[in-house]
Symmetry: C2
Subunit: 342 residues, 2 copies
């Protein structure tokens, strides 16, 4: 239902690399949001095919700009939706925030600590909204499981294991350089690290991580395996397993899993389903999961309109990004990274 009193929201899309799908899906559901322009965000990024695709999908012409800076200056959009090469997220985000444009950006929002600090500073002054595409919080199975944990279905959370397993396929050169890619822990692991934080309600105290490029099938610097172990407040522990070794023959691209062990039960997400064991069930019980949940981009638009907020606050996004970078640092430097001492 379109609310008539709503002003049109004009979105510029910068980049064609990350999960622009969240943005397009939202726009298609809400006629008050329009794409006001697109441009590449990274040097060498393919944008023409994406532009053609959008022009076919929408019943209005979408201007293509050579330079996203010029686009932001000329179009003055309400939202910059940023999804270019991951190493460029921070730079483009800063430029949009400096123009007081709301930012909806692919994770990781930054691939270095310095850039993250810069974004925090610019954000403070910008007076606009910022959301990061931690889209998995909206997946009905994760959302349902979290609701159960909040209800106390497993008691106090004590131990978590999160898994991300992806097919590698053949990935572009921007995945093959740390500069453009940022690393597998921030790119793939950020969701899993977010789950540890989101489900436990604890803070991270320290992390030890490892990652390996071995057997990455000619993908340069891309790490195909990684593990992270977090010590959290209240002696809660969280582990993350990440791999790009899911065989081609597997059904579906990814194998996301989460196991949350509490004082009164255990809840698990696997195969887009939710399972629980606690005093209320004899053996493992599958929980009903709604077929659809909220939509992250529409929630962001609501937030801009002052009518709601994203499931992922900007503070959470900064915190998770920092945690991912600390985990990557631990893996790079082979040492324990402490969250309050380093």
């Amino acid at each position: 239902m379109l609310e008539d009193d709503r002003e049109t929201i004009r979105v510029c899309i910068i980049g064609a690399t990350g999960h622009t799908g969240y943005v397009l899906e939202g726009i298609k559901k809400d006629l008050s949001i329009r794409i006001a322009g697109i441009a590449r965000g990274s040097k060498g990024e393919e944008i023409k095919d994406f532009h053609n695709k959008l022009n076919k999908e929408f019943d209005y012409d979408i201007p293509l700009y050579d330079d996203y800076r010029e686009m932001l200056r000329v179009v003055k959009p309400d939202i910059a939706a940023i999804a270019c090469y991951f190493g460029d997220h921070a730079r483009v985000t800063v430029e949009a925030l400096e123009r007081s444009i709301n930012v909806f950006v692919e994770k990781p929002i930054a691939t270095t600590f310095e850039e993250l600090e810069q974004i925090k500073n610019v954000y403070k002054k910008a007076g606009v909204n910022l959301a990061v595409m931690f889209g998995t919080r909206y997946y009905p199975w994760f959302y349902t499981a979290r609701e159960k944990v909040l209800e106390g279905a497993v008691g106090m959370v004590r131990l978590l294991f999160a898994q991300k397993s992806y097919k590698l396929g053949s990935r572009g050169t921007h995945y093959q350089k740390r500069d453009t890619y940022g690393g597998t822990i921030p790119w793939v692991g950020s969701h899993a690290i977010d789950w540890l934080y989101w489900f436990s309600g604890e803070k991270f105290e320290s992390v030890v991580a490892h990652h390996s490029k071995k057997y990455n099938r000619n993908h340069g610097e891309l790490e195909v395996t990684a593990v992270c172990q977090f010590k959290m407040t209240n002696e809660v522990y969280g582990m993350v397993s990440i791999d790009y070794l899911r065989p081609k023959t597997a059904l579906g691209h990814g194998d996301d899993r989460l196991r949350v062990v509490g004082t009164k039960g255990i809840i698990e997400v696997a195969n887009n389903k939710v399972f629980i064991i606690n005093k209320d069930c004899q053996g493992l019980q599958e929980l009903p999961v709604p077929s659809a949940g909220g939509q992250i981009f529409l929630d962001f638009v609501k937030q801009i309109r002052g009518r709601g907020s994203c499931l992922v606050s900007v503070e959470d996004a900064f915190y998770i990004t920092d945690s991912c970078l600390k985990a990557r640092q631990s893996a790079d430097e082979q040492r324990i990274i402490y969250f309050n001492k380093d």
Copy 2:
């Protein structure tokens, strides 16, 4: 089938605490093995009920001794089967080895580095056989999965996740003191740590672990949650999740799991089943598992008779024990423990 040329093997059982079931199960299947006496191995250990139970189960009288040392001296058994309080395994093992008696002992064989060193030294001189009850290697699901990995079904192993989850119930006071119990990482985690080693064929390079006594329902020093993260040779990584928080309502005492990610596929053990994804199957495939595998105690008897060997060599048992103690040390001291430097 009883082989007539076999001499009777006489076993003394010391203790009634650990998995004496392995011993009894083996003895019941092989009439050439007899129980020549039992005694407690730890001060305060309940032995009379166990003695009564054995006398009912076997058609011959089993002498009960007050002192296991006297029993070993008088009976001079072929095998001492040791399963007393875990903190006493080492002491009793050393005393049996010093008398040149073959030892079949519950894990962990030692709960301190000093005791482990002592056992190694005595073992070298004893000229007898020693096996540790790493019984899960014999579980058909683990055995089957390992055979597949050896066949190359998942390529080179790169990443492993092992889980032990137990019901806590109400455990005796010997579980509640580090002195008698040894810690949850050596007691529960040793199997999982063994799987990492056994399935990968790699050596451990470093470990970081954590454990927590919080919410242990009045079980003193017993840790109810623990995590370990091992860096192994060739940049292979292994994670272990351990908990005693499995709800009473769960079906079965434990929830053992293992996920082995290789360059050519992924194999998993869960619910006493084996699942694989690789190029030979479309989606996840369940592998057939034989209803019964080998028997660890009978294998040990074969080894003594020079007709075979246990799946767990004495070198492996020493190595895994040392690894468990290093993981526990990491958790106690909150630092990375290196296998070749410390």
